[in-house]
Structures are given as C-alpha cells and as structure tokens.
Symmetry: C2
C-alpha cells in the first residue's frame, strides 16, 4: 500500500484552513478514519517531519512544513520540487510578501495607470509605510488628498511620478510630494 500520510495531512490542512486549529487526537482519528492511537502515531510522524509542533499541555500546533505548498516550477513535467527552492525561507505567502507586519498595510488598486507594471484594477498591494522610498520604486503617493500608485522618478526639477501606462501623463508636484509608502508586493484573486 502507498503511504497514506499525504492524504491524512491533506485532511488536516483542510480542517486547519477552516478552523485555524489543529484538532485533538480523537478528532484527527475520525477525520482521517483511523483509531485514536493511529492518529497518535500519525502525528508523531508529522512532528518528526516538521509539519506539527507540540505546545504546552501536549496541544498540537502547525509547524513550518505544515504551510509549505507544493511548488511546481517552470521545468517540464517536474512535479516534485519543494516550495523552498524558489520561495527561499518563506513558507506562507503572508511571510513571503510581508516582511515588516507592523509597518505594512494593504491598498486596493483603482484604475489602470500602472497596468504595464502588472498592477491592475482590483489588485491588492502590499505597502510598507516609508516616506522616503528609493528612486525608481513603485510608491503610494498622496496627490490632492487622493492615493496614487506610480513610479517615483527623479528629474532635473526634482522628484516626479510616472505612471506605467502611456495614456497617462507624468505628475509633477507643484509644491511638495507626499509619499505614503513603497509598494513591495502585489496579489490578486481571479
């Protein structure tokens, strides 16, 4: 018989996605269809493999591997390479995209002025609050009290904002330029 652990783990991951909680051994048992002691042994294997941790009182919590998603590279038909190869240390998408949670906000995109940078209407941007971003980065600026997503450029007359859509003009600030933060990531649901 093939190894059933991936199937068991899948059940556990789906349960966790729903409840944000690793259930008790008894619940795991009925969840995957084995006895309670079978669940104990299964969890022992998962702990050994780095999918599950034990907290105070023996309560179970997910470990790093629990969130690791199978990653399928661009390579032809090679299904097996683990996510860590490309994503590096990061395991959850959150951790990959958000490096400094306390200074990070989400911004939803309106309009298509940055469409050539792959930022579409309805996308979410991960924005790190930082009023002095580097030249050339995509920034969230405040122009006339409105949020604007643009490239931050430097010209002979100082800083200005450049859209990534040839239908839109550059924005040259009349007085000063209010930068809200720097765009460090983006995500979207289809």
């Amino acid at each position: 018989m093939v190894n059933k652990d991936p199937f068991y783990l899948g059940r556990l991951q789906d349960y966790y996605a729903l409840h944000r909680l690793i259930p008790s051994y008894a619940e795991i048992a009925s969840l995957v269809g084995v006895s309670k002691q079978g669940a104990v042994k299964f969890i022992d294997r998962m702990i050994f493999a780095g999918y599950i941790r034990k907290g105070a009182g023996g309560r179970l919590s997910p470990a790093n591997m629990f969130f690791a998603r199978p990653h399928v590279g661009g390579a032809p038909a090679g299904f097996a390479s683990p996510a860590t190869e490309v994503l590096g240390d990061a395991i959850t998408i959150d951790e990959y995209l958000v490096e400094r949670p306390s200074s990070t906000v989400l911004v939803s995109v309106r309009g298509d002025s940055m469409i050539d940078a792959g930022i579409h209407d309805g996308d979410f941007l991960i924005v790190e609050r930082n009023t002095n971003p580097n030249i050339g980065k995509i920034v969230v600026a405040i122009v006339d009290g409105d949020f604007t997503i643009k490239y931050l450029r430097s010209g002979s007359d100082g800083l200005f904002l450049e859209p990534a859509n040839e239908d839109y003009p550059n924005i040259y600030p009349e007085t000063s330029l209010d930068i809200y933060g720097e765009v460090v990531g983006q995500f979207r649901k289809f």
Copy 2:
C-alpha cells in the same frame, strides 16, 4: 482605569505569533496576569468582538478580527476602513488566496504570454488542481510535457488555449488537452 483588553489582546497575539495556537484559559491567565476566571471573561469579550472563536471541545482559535491588518482603501485619504470590507472573511493573504490547501500548488511563471491578464514573468500563481476547469478560466495545461498558462476556450473544433498576448498564437491540441489545474490567484514581490 482604561480598558486593558487591547493590552491583553496584544499579549495573546504575540503568543500566537510564536506558537500558532491560542493557549488554554489557565495559560492566558498567567500570560496577561489575571485569574483563570478573569481570562474566561476576557475571552468572552474577545469572542463577542470577533477576535476569537470556539472550536470543538471549547478549544479556542483565532477569528477574523484577530489578524486584521490595516487596510487603506482607494478612497481619498480614508485610512480607517478595516480589511474585512474588501477582503471579506479572509484576513491573512494565505487564506484569502488559498481556499483548499490540500489541492493547491504554487506555480512560478516563465514568459510573458499572459501579460495582458496581468501575469508577468516571475509571478507566482495559486493553482487548484482540477482537470476539468470551466471554459474561460485561466488554466495550467500540459502541452508537450511542458507547463503552459493560458485561457481555456471552446471553439467549433473543441477546446483550445488562448494566450493573453497578441504576439502569441492560439494553441489547438492535436489529440487531447491535458489540464493540470485552474489558476485562482496570483502574487508577486517587487
């Protein structure tokens, strides 16, 4: 005295960040420095406010509000709207993008054949394994042993694949069409 709940909650969030687990009432009590019954009352308030949920056996798990990240809408200068307005139930980016963890894989994008759909070289796609996706969706297909991201279309001669880049031709399968899964989300780091 001011309301100490935010302070308590902060302790709880720090603990959760470390252990990915809401501790028991007894542990909460020592964590925030009250009696066990004080912890019970505190958690009751958190449940009422939508920060905590109760799972099977009365075990505690984080609810929506527990993860709430500041979200800045497209609205002019309105900083305050909570993430739930736009993101719906999901709070973490992972949970927003990945609905079925066990059948979801990540695929990294090579090439620019889907650039008009906002899918660029180097992006990550969230792909739900599903060999029978709906017409019109973006799918991961296997063509000549290679992964290809394309729109799934239906024509008079059956299914075919359409890129989102006018420099690329449609792909009409000679025999059958191997569909790996459906693209449900996308993310990228800048």
